[in-house]
């Protein structure tokens, strides 16, 4: 018996260590980002860095303003949510409540497949199909733009929104719906007036998850958005926070490199904020 207990404790210990690895990674990244991100902000000046409108990191008189990147990331994410959420939400209502079993199987496996496509593939197809398509459709000189990035991001966040919303909708107790139906409401009335309100915090969590996914995406947007550090315009070439770091990292040096770490820090804080919001909604959905 004693031996068994010792073995149990040993295994417990291993699991504890494995769990601590994750915590350690997060701590390491946080500390590293703060340490390497602060110096450039100090040198450039907090205000000049966050609200400067010009980014010219290798010019003779360099300027390091990241307002264009911040606004682009915010607009790009908002645009993706604006397109992705209605589609994702209605799809999930359909799949959770209305769809016949066969269609449901086909659609949900397609959605999982969509989630499994690597981001570089989205980027490649965006670059080869979407960007020239936008150029021809809107008769503009070049299709690499904020719009292209929004469309690709909207598609990329669909799977997370659909899957989380379905789970939330399925968790609504059947009695609620039965009661509504018994009172004479039609099925569609029931879904939108009973099931959806009951699942609303879960659906909100899905939206926040989508925001997190969209704001952190680098590869895809780098390939379709043009990467010029302009203030955001729907048909203009833009650079996101993520791509600002990724595109210049490989050859950067000195203050330029430090400033890239500072951008990463800003992005990190933004994502932490979104994560905190996600946790808040998830907690509420469990309690409600």
């Amino acid at each position: 018996m004693k031996k068994k207990k010792a073995f149990e404790n040993f295994i417990h210990g291993i699991f504890l260590i494995l769990g601590l690895i994750t915590v350690g990674c997060v701590l390491l990244i946080t500390v590293y980002l703060i340490i390497s991100g602060i110096p450039a902000i100090k040198k450039i000046g907090f205000w000049n860095f966050l609200f400067g409108k010009e980014w010219a990191s290798t010019a003779k008189e360099p300027s390091y303003g990241i307002l264009p990147f911040i606004l682009t990331s915010v607009y790009g994410t908002a645009g993706a949510i604006l397109i992705g959420v209605p589609i994702g939400f209605l799809t999930s209502v359909y799949l959770a409540k209305l769809a016949p079993a066969k269609i449901r199987t086909v659609v949900s496996s397609t959605v999982s497949l969509l989630a499994g496509i690597p981001s570089v593939v989205y980027g490649l197809i965006g670059m080869m199909v979407l960007v020239p398509g936008i150029r021809k459709l809107f008769h503009i000189p070049d299709g690499a733009s904020l719009l292209a990035a929004i469309i690709v991001l909207a598609i990329m966040i669909l799977p997370s929104i659909i899957n989380v919303s379905i789970t939330a909708l399925e968790a609504v107790p059947k009695e609620y719906e039965d009661a509504s139906l018994a009172l004479g409401a039609t099925p569609v009335e029931t879904y939108f007036k009973v099931s959806v309100p009951a699942a609303k915090s879960g659906i909100a969590a899905a939206v926040v998850l989508g925001v997190g996914r969209a704001i952190g995406e680098a590869m895809t947007v780098m390939m379709v958005s043009g990467n010029a550090p302009n203030l955001p315009e729907l048909f203009g070439s833009v650079r996101f926070l993520t791509t600002a770091v990724a595109s210049e990292m490989s050859y950067s040096s000195g203050l330029q490199r430090q400033a890239l770490f500072s951008i990463a820090l800003v992005l990190f804080l933004l994502i932490m904020l979104i994560d905190a919001a996600l946790n808040f909604f998830l907690k509420r959905s469990k309690e409600g």
């Binding site: 010219a56 150029r135 070049d142 299709g143 043009g226 050859y251 330029q256």
Partner: protein, 269 residues
């Protein structure tokens, strides 16, 4: 029991991997420092060198041409790497340049584009936004879409310094690889871009510059002007270490030429 065995094995592996790091004997070290654009060439040469002389260690510190030159001057490395010729005052400081290879930068447009020849001034005017429509150059009535590389890229640095457009380019797209530039230009009939000559494929059309079309031959004889030398910088009167001398002799020999071509540059030999 099986799990313990796996764990023990893994631990043993880690330990042995750590141990093997520190036991190799070194016969000599060559340290190089400088241009980031030469990364590929010098990387390939370094590998070939280490294969030929086993036991030699080759290091390369990608800091940029000017800091590489500075490093040789201060004796912090054996050989400096520069992707521009030495300036007069640098030569006056007792530095010597040996041209290792030349690198041509092709100016590329879509194959559908009617324009096929531009001179350097016109290219500079396009990139600084003074000429914005292909019709001004005898092409279609369409806005010129300027494609370039990201800040810090060696190709961008080379292109901008040769055309005299440093920091003044009005890029519509800043892409992070030669391949992306070529793909984008091949997709857009109104685009213009630049890429290392070695990477240009028939998806795009390489413009002739001032009547000279870019090729290995025209880069070699200097008639194609958008090119820059890859230079080895050493100090006059200071003898190289045995290992560094071996490396220098190796990379400037005929034997090294295929490696230089393989890395996309045009060897001088």
């Amino acid at each position: 029991m099986k799990k313990f065995l796996t764990l023990a094995l893994a631990a043993a592996l880690v330990v042995s991997a750590l141990a093997s790091c520190s036991t190799q004997q070194k016969d000599g070290t060559v340290s190089t420092d400088g241009s980031t654009s030469m990364e590929e060439v010098i990387g390939v040469l370094g590998e070939a060198f280490q294969e030929k002389y086993s036991g030699m260690t080759f290091t390369y510190n990608p800091t940029g041409s000017s800091s590489g030159i500075q490093a040789v001057k201060e004796g912090r490395c054996d050989i400096g790497l520069s992707s521009r010729s030495l300036k007069e005052e640098e030569k006056a400081d007792g530095l010597v340049e040996t041209v290792l290879a030349n690198d041509g930068i092709a100016v590329i447009v879509n194959p559908k584009n009617g324009v096929s020849d531009l001179d350097v001034e016109t290219i500079a005017k396009i990139y600084t936004g003074k000429i914005t429509n292909w019709s001004e150059l005898g092409g279609n009535d369409a806005e010129i879409v300027i494609i370039g590389r990201e800040a810090g890229s060696g190709t961008r640095d080379g292109f901008e310094s040769i055309t005299g457009t440093e920091g003044a380019c009005k890029y519509r797209q800043e892409l992070t690889s030669t391949g992306d530039v070529i793909t984008t230009v091949s997709q857009n009939p109104n685009a213009i871009g630049y890429a290392s000559l070695a990477a240009v494929s028939d998806q795009v059309k390489a413009l002739s510059v001032g009547g000279v079309s870019p090729s290995e031959a025209t880069v070699k004889d200097g008639s194609y002007v958008i090119q820059r030398p890859f230079v080895l910088v050493t100090k006059d009167g200071v003898e190289l270490s045995d290992a560094a001398q071996k490396f220098f002799d190796f990379v400037t020999s005929d034997e090294a030429a295929p490696f230089i071509s393989q890395a996309g540059a045009v060897p001088v030999k």
